[in-house]
Amino acid sequence: MEIKLNNINFTYKKIGYKFKRIFNNLNLNIKTGEITGIIGENKTTLLELINKTLLPDSGTILLNDKELNNIGFSHQNPIEHFINTTVKEELLASIIINNKQVEEIDKKISDALIMVNLNNTYLNRKTNSLSSSELKKLSLACTLITNPKIILLDDPTYSLDLKDKQNLIKLIKLLKKRYNKTFIIATNDTEFLNVISDYIYVINKDVILEGTKYNVFKEYSILNELNIRQPRTIEFSSIVLNKKNIKIGYRDEINDLIKDIYRYK
């Protein structure tokens, strides 16, 4: 099954932009049950369109019926979307706003917190006393507690440390595998997408590149032009190919890269 975006046109009508064209006949097919990475420009706008918080000027966004009302959105700057109260009330608000019936609420709340590596000691913490990484985690918990089929993550790794990132990777992979969740992840953190994504779109006004991670990330000159940093191991191989015309492999791990350097030197 797919989420289909057909011929999307969208113009941003705000002062200063003078009717800035954001999307020009954008077409995307996002497979459900997969983890899709979105890199480039206008990423948040794309997520807002899929979430139906923005409507396109023309074009259609087709989702499978059941999934239409089953989208969760974890925002880039969560504090702007919180109601500014306690952690517990924020989670309850998320359930109410999304019109969900949730049984055993206390257990669901504590499960959601544990999933994102927070816990019940946070329940009465004021959200304005949370660190930026705790806000990111709470935002994800607020999304997961409504049990959406499609999960939109905007810049999920911002302000996370190494351990937080590893936990997030584990969680996303688990939710995909066990519950067949669909993830659409907007980020320019290509290291993160390299570990996690099944398919990647590079966009600005239109789709510039799409494919599996190696097919996208090996495009050194296009990504460079767009100011997108490749995953470092792949960047290294690209520069060797570009400067020395030597084709060493595209690797994810430094140790594999070292073996290739040894072999081709």
């Binding site: 002062i15 660190s131 190494l162 351990k163 937080d164 100011n227 520069i239 400067k243 030197k265």
Partner: protein, 234 residues
């Protein structure tokens, strides 16, 4: 050497939760300091304390003015926030001057937040988790400006979770239970246990150099990819 910031016996808590207990910390004048540490250990709280935004027990002595670059929520045009022509030019903000700040994307907002502080004269500039929102070119532009200010005597403090940003600084502070400022950053990269305990990676080029040195493929650490490729394939 002179200290520009001296913190003595500082304690701070949110309700009953202590973020700092009897913290002592001196920051040298004209340093370029990177502050890292596991998430939620009080990095942002420390900047807010230095900027006198939070009540606390203890003493914080600052020898100069402080500009803080962090997430802002302006509702006005960019040209009302920044008027310094040199900064507008060097950060390439011309295209967005007549835009409303809240309509900008995250990276553009970050550039404006940086530009606003760099337009003024401060003795200390603190950047809280903003540089990691920038793309390659913008990041390099901002680092160039910061290096210039640092040469002119300004003290720079950058808070981040990205170890790659520490490569551009003179000192590294890892904020955890123990608070130590390291003045030899490359020595820190060798301390695997310390980094692991604090959820910090080794910078990619340092890690790659170390492994290549181990296999006798390289003599010295090289931070620039092009340079390393030229050394490996002469």
């Amino acid at each position: 050497m002179d200290n520009i910031i001296e913190i003595k016996d500082l304690s701070f808590k949110y309700n009953d939760l202590y973020i700092f207990k009897n913290l002592n910390l001196n920051i040298k004048k004209n340093t370029f300091l990177t502050i890292m540490g596991p998430s939620s250990t009080g990095k942002t709280t420390l900047c807010n304390l230095i900027c006198n935004k939070l009540d606390n027990k203890g003493s914080i002595r600052i020898n100069g003015t402080v500009g803080l670059v962090n997430k802002k929520n302006y509702n006005c045009l960019v040209e009302e926030i920044i008027s310094n022509k040199d900064i507008i030019k060097s950060l390439k903000l011309n295209n967005i001057l007549s835009c409303n700040f809240e309509d900008l994307n995250n990276e553009e907002q970050a550039l404006v937040e940086i530009g606003e502080v760099l337009s003024n004269t401060y003795n200390i500039i603190i950047i809280d988790n903003v540089l990691n929102k920038l793309n390659k070119d913008n990041f390099n532009r901002v680092i160039k400006l910061l290096n210039k200010l640092n040469k002119d005597g300004i003290t720079i403090i950058n808070i981040t979770n990205n170890i790659e940003e520490s490569l551009f600084s003179k000192e590294l502070l890892i904020l955890n239970n123990q608070i130590i400022i390291y003045d030899d950053i490359f020595k820190v990269y060798e301390q695997e246990k310390l980094l692991k305990e604090n959820n910090i990676e080794i910078p990619f080029m340092v890690s790659l150099s170390n492994k290549l040195k181990y296999y006798n493929l390289l003599d010295d650490t090289v931070l620039d990819i092009d340079k390393m490729v030229n050394i490996l394939w002469k």
